[in-house]
C-alpha cells in the first residue's frame, strides 16, 4: 500500500515483524476499552434523561384493598394538584407483578406478600418542585406514603458508571502510551542497527527529514497493518458481547447496541494507532539525528 523506494533496509529488521503484532494487541484492547467507554456514556445519559424526570410514590398496604384504592386515589389527586407535576398514574397490580416477575418468578405472590401500591409521577422538565414540602403534604393526606425521586440510587449508579468510564479512558490512554513506547524503542533500535547507512546518508547531504521520513513511512505501514489486525480481532469480540447483552433480561438496562457514530470512532482507532506510530518514529529519528554533527 505504501510501497516506496527506501534507502534504509528497515523491512529486514526482526523488530519490524513484531511491531504489527504488538500494535494489534494494543488496538484490540483499545477497541474494547473505547466500546465500553461509549456504551457506558450512553447508558449514563439514558438513565439521567429517562429516570431523573420521574418519581415514585409508595403507599404501604393497609390490608384492605378498598382502603388501599382510596389512599391511592387521594395521593393521585394531591399530586395532580401540583403545578410542576404533569402526570401521576397508579401502577396497576398487573404491571407491578410484571416488574417483580424477573426477581420473584410467576408464582402467585400477591396473596402472600404485603406489596405496597405505587404511583408513577412525571415532573415537568426544569420545574422547581419543593420535594420536602410535597412529601409532608403527601404524608398528611395519605399517612405512611413516601416519595422517592430515584436520586439516591441513580446517583450511585451514575457514579459507578462514571468510575468504570474513567477506568476505560485510563486503559485507552495507557494503550496510547504503550504504543508510543513500543515505537520509540523499535525506532531507536532501528537507528542503532542502521547507524552506518544513516551516517552515509547524512554525509552525502541528506536532511534529517529525508531520513526521518523513511522511518515514519515504515512505522505508518506497520502501525496500520497492526491496527487492522487488532480491529479484525476486536470486532467479533464486540459482536459477541453485544449478543450476550441482548439476551440479558433487565428492564433497567438500556439498549447496549453500538451506534454508527460509535462504530466510526472504533474504526478510526487503527488509523489513530498508525498516525501515533508515524509521528513517534519521526520525532524519535529527528531528535536522535539532531545529536549528529
Amino acid at each position: 500500500m505504501f510501497a516506496k523506494r527506501t534507502d534504509l533496509p528497515l523491512d529486514r529488521d526482526a523488530l519490524s515483524r513484531y511491531l504489527p503484532w504488538l500494535i494489534a494487541f494494543m488496538v484490540y484492547m483499545a477497541v474494547l476499552a473505547l466500546a465500553g467507554l461509549l456504551v457506558l456514556a450512553a447508558m449514563a445519559r439514558y438513565w439521567d434523561a429517562d429516570v431523573s424526570g420521574t418519581m415514585t410514590v409508595q403507599i404501604p398496604p393497609t390490608g384492605s384493598a378498598a382502603d388501599d384504592d382510596k389512599r391511592v386515589r387521594a395521593a393521585v389527586i394531591l399530586l395532580l394538584g401540583e403545578p410542576a407535576i404533569v402526570h401521576a398514574e397508579a401502577i396497576t397490580e398487573g404491571r407491578l407483578m410484571a416488574l417483580l416477575e424477573p426477581w420473584l418468578g410467576t408464582a402467585e405472590v400477591s396473596a402472600d406478600l404485603p406489596l405496597p401500591r405505587l404511583v408513577d409521577v412525571e415532573v415537568e422538565p426544569g420545574a422547581d418542585l419543593d420535594m420536602a414540602g410535597l412529601a409532608r403534604r403527601l404524608d398528611a393526606a395519605v399517612p405512611g406514603a413516601t416519595l422517592d425521586d430515584h436520586r439516591i440510587w441513580l446517583d450511585r449508579l451514575v457514579r459507578l458508571v462514571r468510575s468504570v468510564e474513567a477506568l476505560a479512558a485510563l486503559v485507552l490512554a495507557l494503550m496510547c502510551s504503550a504504543t508510543v513506547g513500543t515505537v520509540v524503542f523499535t525506532t531507536r533500535t532501528g537507528l542503532a542497527i542502521h547507524h552506518d547507512v544513516i551516517e552515509v546518508l547524512h554525509l552525502i547531504g541528506a536532511h534529517d527529514g529525508y531520513i526521518a521520513r523513511q522511518f515514519a513511512q515504515r512505522a505508518l505501514t506497520l502501525g496500520l497493518r497492526g491496527g487492522l489486525i487488532g480491529l479484525a480481532l476486536a470486532v467479533p469480540t464486540l459482536l459477541g458481547i453485544g449478543s450476550l447483552a441482548r439476551h440479558m433480561e433487565a428492564g433497567i438496562m438500556p439498549n447496549l447496541t453500538l451506534t454508527l457514530t460509535h462504530w466510526l470512532a472504533i474504526v478510526s482507532l487503527p488509523l489513530l494507532a498508525a498516525a501515533i506510530a508515524m509521528l513517534t518514529a519521526r520525532l524519535t529519528v529527528t531528535r536522535t539525528l539532531a545529536r549528529m554533527p
Binding site: 534507502d7 551516517e199 554525509l203 552525502i204 541528506a206 536532511h207 554533527p293
Partner: protein
C-alpha cells in the same frame, strides 16, 4: 579585484582535534584550498589523514580552531544548512561505505536522489558514469557480489555523480590495479578541470610521483606543505600565508 579568500573552497585556521580525552591527533592545522586546485594528502599511517578528511567532510567538529567551508564558518552555520554544504562535497571513503542492500545503480544514484533530482535524470547520469568506470554490466549488482576494485569504482562514481565543488578521497586507488588507478586519476583530473577542488589521501608514492600536483604532508598530527612538490604548491603557500595573516 577578486579576494583570494573568497576563492577558497575550504580553509582551516589553527584547527586541532582530539577524540574524547585522548591526545591531539591534529595540532594547529592551517591551510586554505582554492577552487579547482588538486592536492595529495600524504603521510605515514596514523598521521591523521583520515581525521583531517573527516573534519573536511563535516563528520567531525574540531576541538578548537576555525573551519570555513565554501565561505561559511562551520561553527556558526545553523545545522539545518549543513546538508546543502555537504552536497557540494564528494567523498570516497577508505572502506567505500556502500549500502550493501542497494544495487550499484542505487548506490551511485543516492546523492542525486537525496538532492531531489528527477528519476529520468538520475538514470541517465548514473548509467553514463557507471559505464565510464567499466561497470555497465553490473548496474543491478549488490556491493557484496562485487570485487574490491569494483566496489571502489562504485564508491568513486557515487562521490563524483553530483560533480562536487570539493572532492575528498581517502585512498581511492588502494584496491585497484595501476591501469584502473591511472584511469580514475584521470577522471579526477577531468573533474578538476571542470572546477572541482580535489584532495586525495594516499600512501601510493608512485601515484604522487606520476602526477603533477601539490602535496599536503601530515606527520604526527602536524601539517606541512611539501615545498618540493611539483604543480601549484606556491599558490597553496600563498594561501597559507594569507590565512595566517587573516588569523592574526
Amino acid at each position: 579585484m577578486t579576494n583570494d579568500a573568497d576563492d577558497c573552497v575550504i580553509q582551516f585556521e589553527n584547527v586541532s582535534l582530539r577524540y574524547g580525552l585522548g591526545p591531539e591527533v591534529l595540532q594547529d592545522v592551517s591551510f586554505a584550498l582554492k577552487s579547482a586546485s588538486f592536492h595529495f594528502l600524504v603521510g605515514p599511517s596514523g598521521a591523521g589523514k583520515s581525521s583531517l578528511l573527516r573534519l573536511m567532510y563535516l563528520a567531525l567538529k574540531p576541538s578548537r580552531g576555525l573551519v570555513t567551508l565554501f565561505g561559511r564558518d562551520i561553527a556558526t552555520t545553523p545545522r539545518r544548512q549543513l546538508p546543502a554544504l555537504r552536497r557540494r562535497v564528494g567523498v570516497v571513503f577508505q572502506d567505500f561505505r556502500l549500502l550493501p542492500h542497494l544495487s550499484a545503480f542505487d548506490n551511485v544514484a543516492l546523492p542525486l536522489r537525496v538532492a531531489g533530482a528527477r528519476e529520468d535524470e538520475v538514470r541517465r547520469h548514473v548509467v553514463e558514469l557507471l559505464s565510464w568506470v567499466g561497470l555497465k554490466d553490473h548496474l543491478d549488482a549488490r556491493p557484496p557480489t562485487l570485487s574490491g576494485g569494483q566496489q571502489q569504482r562504485v564508491a568513486i562514481a557515487r562521490a563524483v555523480i553530483v560533480r562536487p565543488t570539493l572532492l575528498l578521497a581517502d585512498e581511492p586507488t588502494g584496491n585497484i590495479d595501476d591501469k584502473m588507478a591511472m584511469r580514475l586519476m584521470h577522471l579526477f583530473e577531468e573533474l578538476n578541470k571542470l572546477g572541482t577542488a580535489i584532495v586525495i589521501a594516499t600512501h601510493n608514492e608512485n601515484l604522487v610521483g606520476r602526477l603533477v600536483h601539490s602535496c599536503l604532508r601530515l606527520d604526527g598530527g602536524r601539517l606541512e606543505v611539501d615545498e618540493t612538490a611539483r604543480g601549484p604548491a606556491p599558490a597553496l603557500a600563498a594561501n597559507l600565508r594569507q590565512s595566517s595573516g587573516n588569523a592574526a
